[in-house]
């Protein structure tokens, strides 16, 4: 049952981060929902919608601004293999499949069966007059316990919504300025920042 609520996005609900009420509805809008933790972040980027979509859709680009993603191997038009950094120089990996897409507007994905970190989400691209494009990320995942839990903590720097916000800022920097801002002074310092 959907409870009455306002026009604010469900991801800003005061109810707990766990899916309930408004969160349930947001998750239902996803093509699939793998897990019970929902996060959502939006950023406005001063570039055309099609251009942003094209860069995101080429998954090989993602590690440039998704800080903890080491590598994305594109298997075919719908499937990809993700390698994500973990503590101690280790990595955690899973396969993802595109479950729905509308060129220039939206990409939705879900991890496949047996993923160590079940996750799914969608990226939406929406025009805003005179200011470019609003890019919204909505992610549902299942935070595991134990070692993998630590991986997730590292991956999302404890607070998934903060990490999502940082990653979207980096995407914005790359698309608006052609580079990702760094305060490093030397290549060595820059390398350490990326570890």
């Amino acid at each position: 049952m959907v409870e009455p609520h306002d026009d604010a996005p469900p991801t800003t609900s005061k109810r707990s981060g766990k899916r309930s009420g408004a969160g349930e509805q947001a998750a239902a809008e996803l093509v699939e929902h793998k897990g019970d933790t929902l996060i959502g972040r939006s950023v406005t980027i001063n570039r055309a919608r099609d251009e942003l979509y094209a860069v995101w859709r080429d998954f090989g680009n993602l590690p440039r601004f998704l800080d903890n993603v080491e590598r994305v191997d594109v298997i075919d038009d719908r499937r990809s293999h993700w390698v994500v950094k973990a503590p101690g120089g280790k990595t955690v990996e899973w396969d993802a499949v595109i479950t729905q897409e509308q060129p220039g507007e939206m990409i939705a994905w879900a991890s496949t069966e047996g993923a160590e970190v079940p996750n799914s989400g969608r990226i939406d691209f929406r025009d805003v007059g005179g200011r470019g494009t609003v890019v919204s990320a909505t992610i549902v995942y299942d935070p595991p316990a134990g070692f993998i839990g630590k991986v997730i903590a590292k991956m999302f720097q404890r607070e998934p919504a903060i990490q999502a916000r940082r990653d979207l800022r980096r995407f914005k920097q790359l698309m608006e300025t052609g580079e990702i801002a760094t305060a490093a002074r030397t290549r060595e310092m820059l390398g350490k920042e990326k570890d």
Binding site: N46, R166, D167, K172, E176, G178, A181, R185, T186
Partner: protein, 396 residues
Amino acid sequence: MRALTWHGKHDVRIETVDDPEILNPRDAIIKISSTAICGSDLHLYDGYIPTMQAGDILGHEFMGEVVEVGAGSTLRKGQRVVVPFTIACGNCYHCGKQQYSACDNGNPADNQDIAQTLYGHPMSGLFGYSHMTGGYAGGQAEFVRVPFSDVGPIVVPEGVEDDRVLFLSDILPTGWQAAEYAQIEPGDTVAVWGCGPVGLFSVQSAFLMGAERVIAIDHFPHRLELAKRFGAETINFEESQTYEALMEMTGGIGPDACIDAVGLEAHGFFVDNIIDQIKASTFLGTDRTHSIRQAIIACRKGGRVSMPAVYGGFVDKFPLGAFMEKGLTLRTGQTHVQRYLPALLNAIMEGKIDTTFLISHRLPLEQAPEGYRMFHDKQDEVTKVVLKPGLDRIAA
């Protein structure tokens, strides 16, 4: 290279550190020829600014020679440039509106969280001013890496001495913007609280913008003397009652525009939890609040208040009633340095603005810690310390 590094309260050192390198396409490396100690650097020196880390290189007022450029820079090796203290990308919505200090992209993504939490939105990056504003290495060094070098730095014509243009980096545009925000109309009387560098540049700028009278308020005799030199009338608040004096000097009307340049020494951002510490140890918090409060009370009905003075946290007893009832306008903000550079460089070249009067001391970079000590201990006579990496050692 040699660089001035921060290690804690009253502990700055000259150390040898790795030279900066080109890391992004739009970067340039500048070999520093002159760099000033700003009043706001004293707040780092006093240990009041959070998110500092041992080894951070200070300095946000600097200029020098381009020695290396990335593929996306529009600068050429050998050019002399002055670098704005605000790091702005030139591409985002705010840069498009020339609101450079509100740039979305000049601050690295991870460092934007603190200001996002404290202020609701992150601001641009700044050189040499804590990790909340980016954690960028500053210019009190032999070399500095300048991001977005196609947007920020302004090329200085051949043969113009450093001392004439160095302050384009911060305090001159800051004083100019303060006067612009006062929306001066011909015939106006403008009152300026604080005759530090920004206040003094506000005095000059206000006259250039058509003010008939400028009244400068301070308690350092030497600084009031400098304001007088530019044609200002003065009030020494230790000798006279400021509000009463302003009313009598304006026939009871009050100044048409008021500029609060008292807190200007703090470009910094005080997190609320250290405000109490500041107030308790220096009384600065109280004084600062006092100047903006007094400006609002003294300002004429329907007048304008401009506040280049920096406030970072929360203030007590803000006279919101007077502000509303008198229908005042308040404009404030960090300086959009890049917006003003071409016009101000012209004004300097045409002799309309002089900045050299401000410099009281010139020291080699190696003696920077001494410069900090002097500036900190003798505010009246030490109006501005400029560090020059090439200069021979000077006996103290």
